[in-house]
Subunit: 377 residues, 4 copies
């Protein structure tokens, strides 16, 4: 008899494929769920794989538009930056994925959800806080925190053997020395082998995927105009090319394209994880970096000085909450509400150029400007 139904966040990779089979072994019915949040993935292949491994149902869902509108846009309004540098690309994706996973679990009558996140990172926390907030009765199966699982799979070799034994397709290429978390907003790289893991070794030049090396990027800038209303972009125009985009997903994707082509948004940082340790990450956030700079400019131009100071503090709080996984919490709801309110007059156009890894603000205009030309001179 089945122990119940689990909705498993499934990536198609080795780890979650093994978890799928292991959960079945433990007596669960397994539904897989794979969110398309803009990562480069063969979704069809993943579907087939999950089906062949015995998933009862397979959900592959395109969440890209809601990811931009419901999750990235509020971080733009907040100028959300964790510890002065990290733009929260992974942190902001977790509640988006978790929200849908929980919807599926409710709809399918599943009492369990499961994920393949490790037991030491932030992602497990972000994922689980989302699930508990939106589906308080749900039970979470986190194999990498269950002794029966982590004692059985002490390394990649154990996973490979298990895969071979259970007909799970095994990766033929050797494992990369970096793990990657990719979505529409960014790619995060975390070192897996000692030499990259430490803090002083430099990241290899060929690591990056979303952004060109600025040394190889175009020798002439692109000039964009971004139009904001209520603190979110409503249109982006590349004047030279005469292109413009005006849906949230298209705007963000286009900024990724331009930013990526010019090598914008690469950072190598050390950050403080929620559970007290420091970790090093390499990030590529091309579109997000452009938007942060443009939004900062139009916001300072249109917002009252003292409101801005109070809102700056709320934005820092928001960033901490999102980083720590509390997107769905009373305090984050409250802060998001306050920040959104602060954006009522954040309206206007910012011109900027993108070149060799940098974003240069060139000018701005607004019908709501608080600037009084007479007074300043």
């Amino acid at each position: 008899m089945s122990k119940g139904t689990v909705v498993l966040a499934y990536s198609g990779g080795l780890d979650t494929s093994c978890i799928l089979v292991w959960l079945k072994e433990q007596g669960y019915d397994v539904i897989t769920f794979l969110a398309n949040i803009g990562q480069d993935e063969d979704f069809k292949a993943a579907q087939k794989k999950a089906e062949s491994l015995g998933a009862k149902k397979v959900f592959i869902e395109d969440l890209r538009s809601e990811f931009v509108e419901d999750f990235i846009w509020p971080t733009v309004q907040a100028n959300a930056v964790y510890e002065d540098r990290y733009l929260l690309g992974t942190a902001v994706a977790r509640p988006c994925i978790g929200r849908r996973q929980v919807e599926i679990a409710r709809r399918e009558g599943a009492q369990f959800v499961s994920h393949g996140a490790t037991g030491k990172g932030n992602d497990q926390i972000r994922f689980e806080l989302t699930c508990y907030a939106l589906y308080p009765e749900v039970k979470i199966i986190a194999p990498w925190r269950i002794p029966e699982f982590y004692n059985r799979f002490r390394g990649r070799k154990d996973l490979m053997e298990y895969a071979q034994k259970h007909g799970i397709p095994v990766p033929v290429t050797p494992r990369a020395p970096w793990s990657m978390d990719a979505n529409l907003m960014h790619i995060r790289w975390v070192g897996l082998v000692a030499c990259f893991y430490v803090f002083q070794s430099h990241a290899p030049a060929d690591l990056y995927q979303m952004t060109k090396n600025p040394e190889d990027s175009p020798n002439a800038p692109d000039v964009l105009e971004i139009e904001f209303r209520n603190g979110v972009p409503v249109k982006v125009t590349n004047e030279k090319e005469g292109k413009s985009k005006d849906s949230p997903l298209e705007i963000f994707s286009y900024l990724n394209e331009i930013g990526g082509n010019h090598g914008v948004g690469r950072i190598d940082i050390v950050e403080n994880r929620f559970i007290g340790m420091k970790s090093r990450g390499i990030y590529e956030t091309p579109g997000g970096t452009i938007l942060l700079k443009a939004h900062l400019d139009i916001e300072t131009f249109t917002m009252d000085k003292e409101v801005r100071r109070i809102k700056q503090g709320l934005g820092i709080k928001f960033s901490e909450l999102v980083y720590n996984g509390f997107w769905y919490s009373p305090e984050c709801d409250f802060v998001r509400h306050c920040i959104a309110k602060s954006q009522d007059n954040v309206e206007g156009k910012v011109q900027l150029s993108v070149f060799k890894g940098q974003v240069y603000i060139l000018g701005r205009e607004s019908p709501k400007s608080l600037y009084n030309e007479e007074l300043v001179r």
Copy 2:
């Protein structure tokens, strides 16, 4: 009979030369004071000019080392950034200049100090708050706020006529459309004519002086290692060139040279002045920008997460206080003390590359790192 002695902050330019003569006309003995804080200036010519215009004494003082050590270093420790963007290069110079001006006034028995700052900007406030804090009994003569003065000199034309009449050398080149405030830390450009004054017109490419246009900067990066102790740089090394610097003034000057050569630290922003108006500024802060990024990195690497959060709030407060001119105030003393305390363990080396307007952190190491390699994996 003399009304008393005034120490005038003298730049050698048209405005303060007219003020010098005007103060004499009003019956004051005038001592001029010109601080060398790293601006590009013909100090000898200024001295001669002041003497020829009747200054009782002329002081020209090299404050560059104390500017770096006593004023720039604390802003590095604080990660001081006003409204998320401005690195406070002008704001931090005012108390440095004012401190010496007041010392001279005390030493020379002058009851008055005077300056040529306009009546609408931040600089008059910064200057005057410094003077009152350090020399509470001093009287300040601010000609641009005195009706007898500003009604007489309603524009540049009036100053030119006055100059010609009183033997003040008159500039032969036409007036630049931008005003410039330069020191070791930065150059600030503020538009003087309508077309540049507004917010949407783009700054001309040939405006900049401290930084090369990134389009023309070298096609290969420079790689530096900066060593910090107590949150301030104690050594910078350019490994390729085998150069290294280890005195504060040399370190900062070298970072300006490298940063400037690679076009680092240009921003075009709108900021909220102390007295409620918005103003646009173009800034070049090459060395300061490199140091901000490097310090942020070593600080996050070595400081406890929760201390960092509290210190981040204090740093924002510090930036507001400095911007508003309150360097010498009980609250700024207090905040500076707290921030300095937070830097006890901020020690280590940061490697970074400087290229095409960007600073890329490459790695870091520290004897005080809180990172526990075992734990994170």
Copy 3:
């Protein structure tokens, strides 16, 4: 010919009566405005007096209900306390008075407003910021800052002489050693003669008017139940007496009565004025003190812990803004909006006893309580 029309905030006392006549002398048409915000005043006598002194129009307006609902209630929601002690009874009345004064000025086509506040206190600032915010084109006549006025009236004696000369009724009793500012929310006492002005002399026992001396107050407590919705009281019940009140003005007045009878809400403090000086005040705030304690209790009981922490910071900011006169400012609007949002679930009943100057919370209940009885044990 008239210089224009002034709406003068008129109290009926010696100072503003002299100002009325003086403004007429200066060539203005004067409209007087006297707000009833709950102070003990002979409004009819004041009306007659103003008319007899030549006021063109006389407005006496009962603002008590809007004072409670629009001004006191938001301070209750905010737990507004300035510098941990002062409940802002005067600060919160100024924008209420100023709002109506400006409405009258607009309606009557007056270009000027005037007030009798001194040139060193907070009240002039609070009053004027309100006027400028709501009627930016208005011109303010502040006689106590105009040299022609304050040089003419150097002391009370000069006012008395002027009064006698111009048929202004002159007070027959000697001047009290304390000045009083009274409204529905509180009475503020500030010493006028040296011995009470200093900080160490004790306030005389017979000073107080709103509150009984706790030594003489009843020897048995009153027990009240206050019901809150959205963070404001909607009903107060005295169970023993079987009385209950449910309109804002009645609720607040009843709490004043009970609190006053039991000597609640007396404080003797030193506070930091907006313009950098310290001043001593004695305050009586009976109803406000009861509400602060009751609201704190129901809020902590029903609000999420982390929301509470963020809201606590906003409440402190709100208190500073209100104290400094910025009720009508973008930042205070913003903060008020955020605080009001935080009160969505602040609903329930608080039982308390009032006795000998103290308020004791006895218990509380709420349909929205976040308390989980199972969990805590």
Copy 4:
């Protein structure tokens, strides 16, 4: 063979006596430690009891002076109040006790420490964070979180049976409906039976021990003068009685005596525990309440306004950290350092009266007052 040595925080009560015996059963050598932090306890009896139950060593230590100087004084400097009401009497005692316990463990070569705190409260966290901070290698045995223990002892009845079986003296009086935590600073009462546990039932009049019922307290006030230096009291004088005290422990004890006699410091509150739940507590904090009011007064009188605002925020942070058990943490060290620095000028005398549950500030004086009598008038 012994599993090692445990230092057990021993109260002499039923729970920790059972834990003592149970730990021995589990194979540990047990050293008991009982701190005298001012609670009313028969320390000799507790010593005998521990010895008779097989404790290898018994430590009973008088920590009262260091409790006042090292723990209470910093909370006075901070105006530490959790959630606007709770004065942290229990929170501040835990690190004091834990510090000595860890010292004993180190000195005695014990690898383990143990305590009898429940698994749902704040005290376990406060205790354990202290131990880990000061003795990172220590292992903590928390029986109430160990299934073997809590499954065996599901209620008081199981403890009683176990006690009888193992010769542990069994309390003869029935259990009180309230649990009590007493020390020099306060008594905390938490309901143990349903009717008192809920939030609306009123506390019984005979509950209190440190404070008289204000209805029965003296009908005349006591008038005290408290002298502060560096923000801590250095002398208290009762002018009428001619008594004065000037050692920290004597000062605090005397304030407890006077405050208790007048019924000062009773509160009934709901608070948010560290682990997200709300709990109700009744507190008696007589001396602490007097000191909070007196310190607030002298601090506002002597401290710069803007320093005070920054320090107020740090004090709130400090209160949260202490409540949550982080006394010994880098961030609390940092905040304590900053707060202590802010107290440099907090010096002077405060006169106050204590009467019927209230503290009334009567006046204050200071050699460091920032008040300028000339200016204010």
